[in-house]
């Protein structure tokens, strides 16, 4: 068979752990090959080996049938291997064109010759349908556009083998669709793609074959069209994963959150657009209400206005029957509100604090953890140990681990543990499963349902349609700052929901 890259029997050990244990990965020319694995399965190590950042203890790498030794990224580049990193490597105050040619500038006697480069870039962007403005600054273009620039960088270097490392994590649903089309186009033009992900839908959508890793071991390679998602996820996680969420019928009780005529006006100068426009809704105890919508339609601002992180311009927020519009964040925190914030690094955690310190972030001043101004370290430690055990938080040093050193999934678990442990009447969860693998997502979904069943109201903001469909008892759709529909997930299809989210359909808002 005609493999363009073969990694055969790769073994890479680190002290105490086999990160890659006899892994084989074979990429055919002209295919999209997915590399599937949970966080920490060894995908990154394998790619580091391919890029020559690590030398494997065992195994060989063949490119186009020839055995090669790769000593660093330059070697990999020379062999036609290019990569779009999860976090883009772009210079923000350079233009698109400058970024693309960075490192391989065309020069004549020390002076840049941009014209040739520009011609080539324009030609490439036409050929692969990657519309970008070569003179736009990176800081001015969207994340989706930035990704195109990264792809153009690889194409400009005439890479044949393109590696996409979790490329969809930062994209909106439309951008994901566009990316999928781009990937299909690239393959048609004879490129080969290695697509690293843990999202099964995307694999089903574009990949031809899929190799699965689990805990550093190679599990197998399957043909995507003959394999269903359940099988692939079982290969990845090692057990059956429940995609649907098991939950009983909701039993909504009294209203816990009521939002009336809420408006937030853009603060940027000369911009009087209402980011949140006259929003009305309520959440009752014992139900999960989702706010669906495409990122950037005012969901973040709405939540920040409710929680107090952002000032609202008009409207009223009632929590447990009490008007809290003008109350402080601390007042809300101590009166039944828990908030799993959208940005876990900006708001959710003090990264330089340890797990135990983060777990009392809203409660350190309560009599439970403090006596006449002095912290009760034993109580704080005990609380952390309890939550670490209950929520299976994994870390290097237990309660004293600095949260900065932890993986994203475990950081998120610290936040979720803290917010749920405060026994809220209203739990606001914004993108609680963002960037996490299926196992962790399943766990978090279970926790949210458990909170509902305990009688809390849950307000969920999510950009993932599956999550919204599976978890909600009621779906509100937000579009351009307004709530345009109030739907029952049992009566609406994903396609319909998409139409509401795109603004091409409006429903009755109760």
């Amino acid at each position: 068979m005609d493999y363009i890259i073969e990694m055969l029997g790769i073994t890479k050990e680190f002290p105490g752990i086999k990160a890659n244990d006899n892994i084989t990965l074979q990429l055919k020319k002209g295919e999209i090959h997915a590399l599937l694995g949970e966080n920490g399965a060894g995908k990154s190590t394998l790619m580091s080996v391919l890029f020559g950042l690590y030398q494997p203890e065992k195994g060989t790498i063949k490119v186009k049938g020839k055995e090669v030794k790769i000593n660093g990224p330059m070697d990999a580049n020379a062999l036609g291997i290019g990569m779009v990193h999860q976090h883009f490597k772009l210079v923000h105050n350079f233009t698109v064109l400058q970024n693309i040619i960075l490192g391989v500038e065309t020069v004549s006697s020390g002076f840049l010759k941009m014209d040739e480069a520009r011609k080539k870039v324009i030609e490439l962007s036409k050929r692969y349908n990657l519309a970008v403005d070569p003179d736009a600054y990176i800081s001015d273009i969207t994340v989706g556009m930035q990704q195109r620039v990264e792809i153009l960088k690889m194409l400009y270097r005439e890479n044949e083998i393109l590696i996409f490392d979790e490329p969809t994590a930062v994209l909106t649903p439309q951008e994901i669709d566009e990316l999928m089309n781009i990937m299909r186009g690239l393959v048609k033009e004879g490129k080969s793609i290695l697509f690293i992900t843990h999202k099964l839908n995307e694999i089903k959508a574009v990949a031809n074959r899929c190799s699965v890793l689990r805990r550093g071991r190679y599990i197998g390679t399957v043909d995507v069209k003959d394999t269903d998602k359940e099988t692939m996820s079982e290969m990845m996680v090692g057990r059956k994963v429940n995609f649907g969420v098991d939950k009983a019928e909701a039993e909504p009780k009294e209203v816990v959150l009521d939002v009336k005529d809420l408006c937030v006006v853009a603060k940027a100068q000369g911009n009087t657009k209402k980011i949140v426009n006259d929003v009305n809704f309520s959440v009752r105890k014992g139900e999960i209400v989702s706010i669906a919508g495409i990122d950037g339609n005012g969901q973040s601002e709405l939540i920040q206005a409710i929680t107090g992180l952002m000032k609202l311009d008009s409207g009223r927020v009632t929590l447990r029957g009490e008007d809290v519009t003008k109350k402080s964040i601390r007042y809300k925190n101590t009166h039944g509100l828990s908030h799993i914030p959208e940005d876990r690094h900006k708001h959710g955690l003090v990264l330089d604090y340890s797990i135990e310190e983060n777990m009392v972030l809203q409660e350190y001043f309560t009599p439970r953890y403090q006596k006449s101004g002095f912290l009760l370290k034993d109580a704080i430690r005990e609380n952390a140990l309890k939550l670490i055990e209950k929520f299976d938080v994994r870390s290097g040093q237990g309660p004293i681990t600095k949260t900065r050193s932890m993986s994203g999934g475990n950081q998120q678990k610290v936040i979720i543990a803290r917010e749920i442990a405060r026994d809220p009447d209203l739990l606001i969860a914004v993108q609680p499963t963002r960037g996490l693998d299926v196992g962790a997502i399943e766990f978090i979904h279970k926790q949210l349902v458990a909170e509902r069943d305990k009688g809390s109201g849950v307000l969920l903001v999510s950009f993932e349609l599956d999550e919204v469909m599976n978890l909600s008892d009621r779906i509100l759709v937000m579009y351009e700052g307004e709530i345009v529909a109030d739907l029952d997930p049992k009566e609406v299809t994903v396609q319909e929901l998409g139409l509401y989210m795109a603004g091409s359909k409006r429903g009755n808002v109760k």
Binding site: E357, K390, R404
Partner: protein, 413 residues
Amino acid sequence: MKKSNSKSPRKAGEGNNLGLVSSVFAVVLGLLVGLVILLICNPGQAFAGFGTILTGAVSEGLYGIGMVFYYATPIICTGLAVGFAFKTGLFNIGASGQFTMGGFAAIVVGITLPQLGSVHWVVALLAAVLAGALWAVIPGLLKAFANINEVIACIMMNYIGMYAVNWAIKDTPALFNKTNNRSNAVASTANIPKFGLDKIFTDSAVNGGFIIALLAVVVVYVILTKTTFGYELKAVGFNRDASKYAGINEKKSITLSMAISGALAGLGGGLLYLAGSGKYIEIVDEIAAEGFDGISVALLGLSSPLGILLAGLFIAYIRQGGFYLQLFEFSQEIIDIIVAVIIYFSAFSLIVRSYMMKRNAKKAEKLNIPETPSPQIPAPLHQPIPDEEPKAGDVGDQTTDEDPQQKEEGGDE
């Protein structure tokens, strides 16, 4: 994309000693550079001179030690001021101005209110603390409410403080000693009592100020590590947004942090000018050096109160030793060069340290996973096999989540 070559596993516990190791490393390198300078200047006397730097302070017994304590007192205070601000996420480069204001307030009270009698020195000292705090609150408020960089505001406050004090002293006959172009001596009741230290360290200028500075070290340590107040201040310093999310009044915290930092610097000024050692505010257009010494002390002491105490004592010790360098026809400035080199290396060793700590943390994360107390808890997500992927050398940095901040935040320490 960095590549970690070392394969020797390190235990996480080693990280705790790294701070001390890196500071000692800086001190040794600094002293060696000092030796090289001595060798260049005057090879014949170099080793004798170097020996004096190391032992000069104790060459006259307890007197020298008393002088070390005396010199250390103000720089421990300014060191605490800078270190406290560091710990709460602020760079108080205005310790000089606060120090000057503190000193000024102390001499004003010390000269004009002799009728206070036995509490005279206490009131003068309190005035110093208050003046320092006020001088720091201004940049603190600007930072908290207008997000104005405290470094720039503090630098301005240094100049304003220095010129304002010079002008106020010159314009007030009661304060001004025209003959010597300096402030007048304070009333004897305003001098800080010796607390018996003069009996031990005969003839030296040491006084109760040193004990007050030691108390300040303890107080700062307790605030930072034991109290909810310190927890709040540090949380705001590390992450203002998360603190706001947690319901902490972050504006109040920033202002208070600056006030306490300024109070410590002001205390330093009060302790120096009330020492009764013949030290007066000179009318010169120079910013008080003690403030900048505070930055050095805080850096060398890694901002920890105990570290600052040791660093302050050390710098005072080699300064006192350097005083005798003149015997060997060296100029005393060599000591300042050595101190500067030490600070250079301690800044450098901070980089080494944060790198080592990060590496240790990663190693620990990798190695210790099986030991974490969470094997058979409800619905574990994974089998209990080590599941953390070694991240040291990712292609790019695929941490498991997509917040680009993580990398940036991680990188700029």
